[in-house]
Amino acid sequence: MNPHPVIEVEGLRKRFRTRRGPVEAVAGIDFRVQPGEFVGYAGPNGAGKSTTVKMMSGILLPSAGRVEVCGMVPYRERKRLARRMGVVFGQRTQLWWDLPLEESFELVGHLYRIPPAERAARLARLEEVLALGPLLAVPVRSLSLGQRMRAELAAAVLPAPEVLFLDEPTIGLDVEAKAAVRDFLRELNRDQGTTVILTTHDLDDITRLCSRLMIIDHGRLIYDGTVEALRTAYGTTRVLVVDLAEDEPVQVQGAVLARAEGRRRWLEFARDEVSAAELIARLLAGHEVADLTLEEPDIEDIVRRIYRGEAPP
């Protein structure tokens, strides 16, 4: 394992004082992120995701524990770290509201002291990948949400950060805009080796992009591993959807009837008890079947069950 993780978090806690007493938003979490990892950070509302990201980016002081990003303590060396880290908050803009996009990029270039030639080259690349060309003369306030998000991403990666924190970057985007953002992030991670921490509610983002998934709930890390491992560990239930030739009662050994609607039946079965082939064979032995499909466990479903405490890790 790489001895120099880009992010190191140890025993990290954050307590807030509220009118209803103290609340522990982050209740002691530990993890390390190696350079080039693409980590999805998921959890229900109020689980502590944003609080963790704020502590990692240096705009929130931890109550206890240790956090280091690029070898720096974020809240102490925020301005120095700012040159090596990019942050995008989906619902807040970091661009100059009234300025044409082009000028915002120019300002970013000056603030981060990017040599003009270098800036032009990087911008040309970003313009192409994010299709920004027609937007450059438009003031940020006139951009649509999808256009703005592409612009925010471009501004955040223009200084070529080593680490990129993304807080809900696809929230409110339509299918096409989401796809554009995902393609861009995948390429950024693969080609530039940028470490990406992606906070999202959209598990689709995570399954499509992330090599690693961390789930936080009630301030505690309840899962840290690959998406595939999560699927095999918790997604043991598969569903065989059967359209019978005739409307008749169905009973197959090893499966439970979950739902019935007209001639369609949903049969739930456990992956480790019976194979799909075996189950289909048993079914066909006793019934005439018009059609069938096999549904794999949905990651969303698994995570929902984890949140509800039905699939404790």
Binding site: I59, L61, V87, R92, L111
Partner: protein, 258 residues
């Protein structure tokens, strides 16, 4: 340094691009300038001096006031407070460099645009049509120019302090509305500070409201030295004050969350 100059230029260009707002602003200034001119002419019909000001001083006051109106009470008065409330201010903490200087540079860019496109034309036209008392030498005009820029800087510094209230209370507007009539009167935007009763005038002369309007009026009408010195002193004091407030606010934000 280059970054701050780029911000200044961007602010200037941004403000200059609002042509319709500029036209509307110039018209409003002309309208209220004419009304105020008529009022002061009526006042001076019976006498030559009021509180040490003659009619030329009074008219100069009127047109400097019109010229500086949009600099002091900038249309973007609540911009900082709103950014703090919405959480967008956090972006300032996540950038390299100095947030206070960045905000100042961008704001000064915009107020410089107002000075160039509104203050200077308004004063020039008024001086051509009315007996204003403006410096006759190039040096005198340069001092007036410096005084107007200093007024713009102090205006930013005070607006920054008012906007910073949003770090501590969501009700920052009510707080301001409460003191607004007093600020309006004391800064000299109703009548010249010279018209105030002695003790009040003495008090106001030592306040940061003087650099906003009365100091440029005094630079224009002759007492340039002390007026400029007052402005420079307040820029320095408010600089320290603004930075202290920003440090406190950032500390609060970082400890308690935004």
């Amino acid at each position: 340094m280059r970054a701050y100059l780029a911000l200044l230029r961007a602010g200037f260009q941004r403000q200059t691009s609002y042509r319709l707002a500029l036209a509307a602003g110039l018209l409003t200034n002309a309208f209220f300038g004419v009304v105020r001119t008529a009022v002061f002419y009526a006042l001076y019909r019976e006498r030559d001096q009021v509180a040490g000001l003659d009619v030329a001083d009074a008219l100069t006051y009127v047109w400097v006031l019109e010229g500086l109106f949009a600099v002091v009470w900038a249309p973007w008065f609540w911009e900082l407070a709103e950014a703090i409330r919405s959480g967008e201010f956090v972006a300032e903490l996540l950038r390299p460099g100095d947030p206070y200087l960045r905000l100042l540079a961008f704001d000064l860019g915009r107020t410089l645009s107002v000075l160039v496109t509104r203050t200077v034309p308004t004063l020039t036209v008024a001086a051509l049509l009315l007996p204003l008392r403006l410096p006759a030498t190039l040096g005198g005009l340069a001092l007036l120019g410096a005084s107007l820029v200093l007024a713009a800087v102090v205006s930013f510094q005070l607006r920054f302090l008012f906007g910073s209230a949003a770090f501590w209370t969501p009700d920052y507007r009510s707080l301001f509305m409460l003191v607004f009539p007093v600020l309006w009167l004391l800064s000299g935007f109703v009548v010249p500070v010279d018209f105030f009763p002695g003790p009040l005038r003495a008090l106001v002369d030592w306040s940061p409201l003087i650099p906003l309007l009365m100091a440029p009026v005094r630079v224009a009408t002759g007492a340039a030295g002390p007026a400029l010195a007052t402005q420079v002193a307040w820029v320095a004091l408010l600089w320290l004050g603004g930075r202290a407030v920003l440090a406190l606010a950032s500390r609060r934000l970082v400890v308690h969350g935004g």
